[in-house]
């Protein structure tokens, strides 16, 4: 299907949105996906909520708890996405923690992803070595891309290793932080983005963490292919609901 690769080969900077499935309401998933596509978003990360999201700040923690309280489960998410490819054509990824995937069964999870038309997975706590040894085959079998993270502390050697293991893009975490922090995009971040740009990796980089408006989007994408907005989008959803999506997306670019 190559939706992600095709999108990455387009000439513009990509805007990607993360939201937590089941938030604000259990059944909002499909409508949010449709609205985001309509408003010109390039790619979407659908968050599978987890009880103990270690790498997330208060906003995504809170949305995950609400989603779980609303009754969201892996099974229900796949049911909601059953006909999504009749309605939405941009690349869709599922982002979540590894334990729910493990309990669903990694192969079963990948199979379901392929059935509903998910293009890739981002599982921050599934380490590279573990993935390659046990799961890479399964991901390939179902034509799913696995997206890895790098951070300002990742060594060049490891970045190159991750680049070799990746297909699609590399998720470049903007600063040493959990999601939703507003450390800004100052000199040290710009240097880090430039440093990674200069490595001329085979995979383009998409920046995430801390992007919350058009200014930070501009700065994040100066040396990268695109950027992901998560916490800021969820904050907007809690304040304005689905009605606020269109003006939020337009305010970014």
């Amino acid at each position: 299907m190559k939706r992600i690769q095709n999108k990455l080969s387009e000439n513009n900077k990509l805007l990607s949105i993360y939201f937590t499935a089941g938030y604000p309401k259990l059944d909002d998933t499909v409508e949010i996906l449709q609205l985001l596509e309509k408003d010109g978003v390039d790619m979407i990360e659908i968050g599978l909520p987890f009880s103990d999201p270690l790498a997330d700040g208060p906003t995504i923690q809170e949305s995950s708890q609400v989603a779980l309280k609303n009754g969201m489960t892996t099974e229900i998410l796949f049911q909601q996405l059953k006909d999504i490819r009749k309605m939405v054509s941009i690349p869709l990824l599922i982002m979540g923690y590894f334990n729910p995937v493990l309990q669903f069964g990694v192969e079963n999870f990948c199979k379901k992803c392929a059935e509903v038309g998910i293009d890739g997975l981002i599982l921050p706590d599934l380490p590279l070595a573990e993935y390659e040894e046990h799961y890479a085959e399964i991901f390939k079998k179902y034509d799913l891309l696995n997206i890895f993270l790098i951070t300002p502390q990742t060594s060049e050697e490891r970045i190159r290793m991750i680049d070799t293991a990746s297909e699609g893009f590399i998720y470049m975490v903007s600063s040493a932080s959990v999601t939703g922090s507003s450390s800004g995009f100052g000199v040290s971040q710009q240097e880090y983005f430039k440093r990674v740009e200069s490595l001329q990796l085979k995979n383009p980089q998409i920046v995430g963490f801390g992007i919350n408006n058009s200014g930070t989007f501009q700065r994040a994408t100066k040396h990268a292919k695109g950027a992901i907005i998560g916490s800021a989008f969820i904050k907007m959803l809690s304040e304005k609901g689905l009605a606020g999506i269109s003006s939020f997306i337009k305010s970014i670019r």
């Binding site: 103990d52 270690l54 790498a55 700040g57 923690q61 334990n99 493990l102 706590d125 040493a176």
Partner: protein, 401 residues
């Protein structure tokens, strides 16, 4: 000497960081540099002569080791077997936790870290961490669940006196699991100058192994002390309570590959295993990932971690360390669950029979004698992991004293 070699024992960690199918390092990339730095260095640093010397000197002069192995005569008479208590309650700060924090603070210094973070449940690990930070002049931040801050108030006061900052964890069940989440998030936010002193044999490799090695001084001493008292190094049974499992790991360590020594791990059944208010991970848990480790944990069918319950803050954790998951799965360890009520009764009994007020965690280990029968000549060593000062309010309210 702390052993710094990998062994070919079945029950210890292998080069990849696994105990059987359990362990590993399931961490987000943000934590990779720190955990990898530790993994590459911990055995090397522990093997240095200067490290061993400083570690053992502090254990001796500051912690007060070796702790006694005490033959509990009246308790033995009551249960018609030979019961020895390993008196970790007599360690400085009141529990075994300090064995590990001494080791880790020396490790942190050698890795050039200047800021220390920790999680705590009962507050014993928080106090032990605050203590060694004061000793070394390092900044100390302790994360503690809001519920635990209330039920272990004396330890919160102690941490503050020792100069630590206590940060309440307000998410989830507001207990140990959530405090651990917050500590991990802090580490993600402070990746360069900070060392995370984990308080049990949990977390990503190399933590479970490193903490077990620091705590292994417990069974090393038991061997020597039992030889003096009984003419043999090996007891018939070693008993310890398991929250994450660090006091148990230390008490079991040198007996893991001695099949003649029975290993008994005691978990908190809370109000009863089937009541929905329990922390009996070996019974209620399934294989999954918690705090960076593949192990047994209590979770829903959908893989959401469930909230445990125990009257004892130190045992109120939905997982166990990977070493213990493997002891359970392999059948090497016998696992027993003890309810709140059974533990409280056993705690009071030890006060009356031996004049020792145990931590409620340790009371769980003592409670097995009511149901688990031993032979008259069996030598049973119970690891008395801590003292009950922190729990006086809970005992007093429970027994309406």
């Amino acid at each position: 000497m702390i052993n710094t070699q990998y062994s070919n024992m079945n029950y210890n960690v292998n080069e990849k960081g696994y105990y059987g199918e359990f362990g590993g390092a399931y961490i987000p990339e943000m934590l990779y540099p720190n955990v990898e730095e530790l993994r590459q260095n911990y055995l090397k640093v522990m093997a240095e002569e200067s490290f061993q010397k400083e570690f053992h000197q502090l254990l001796k002069d500051y912690v007060g080791r070796p702790t006694p192995l005490y033959f509990a005569k009246r308790l033995s008479e009551k249960y018609n077997t030979k019961i020895y208590l390993k008196r970790e309650d007599l360690c400085h700060t009141g529990a075994h936790k300090v064995n590990n924090t001494i080791g880790q603070i020396l490790m942190a210094k050698r890795l050039g870290k200047t800021r220390i973070i920790a999680e705590t449940g009962a507050g014993q690990h928080g106090v032990a961490t605050a203590t060694v930070c004061a000793l070394m002049g390092l900044e100390c931040i302790v994360f503690m669940g809001e519920v635990d801050i209330k039920r272990q108030a004396p330890n919160v006061a102690r941490m503050k006196m020792l100069g630590a900052k206590v940060v309440p964890a307000t998410s989830g069940s507001k207990t140990l699991k959530d405090a651990t989440n917050e500590a991990i998030r802090d580490w993600i936010n402070n990746p360069v100058d900070t060392h995370y002193i984990i308080g049990s044999v949990v977390g990503p490799h190399p933590y479970p192994d490193m903490v077990a090695r620091f705590q292994s001084v417990i069974s090393e001493e038991i061997k020597t002390q039992l030889k003096e008292k009984e003419g043999r190094e090996n007891p018939d049974f070693v008993v310890a309570c398991v929250g994450g499992g660090s006091n148990a790991a230390g008490a079991f360590y040198h007996y893991l590959d001695k099949p003649e020594v029975g290993i008994i791990a005691v978990e908190a059944a809370g109000k009863g295993i089937d009541t929905g208010e329990s922390a009996s991970t070996s019974v209620l848990g399934k294989v999954g990932i918690i705090h960076g480790s593949k192990t047994l944990l209590m979770q829903t069918a959908d893989g959401q971690i469930t909230e445990p319950y125990s009257i004892s803050a130190g045992l109120d954790y939905p997982g166990v360390g990977p070493m213990h998951a493997n002891l359970f799965a392999s059948g090497r360890g016998e696992f027993i669950s003890i309810t709140d009520d059974e533990a409280m009764e056993a705690g009071l009994k030890l006060c009356k029979l031996e004049g020792i007020i145990p931590a409620i965690e340790s009371s769980h280990a003592l409670a097995i004698f009511e149901n688990r029968k031993f032979k008259k000549n069996d030598v049973v060593v119970v690891n008395l992991s801590g003292r009950g000062d922190k729990d006086l309010d809970i005992y007093v309210n429970y027994f309406k004293l």
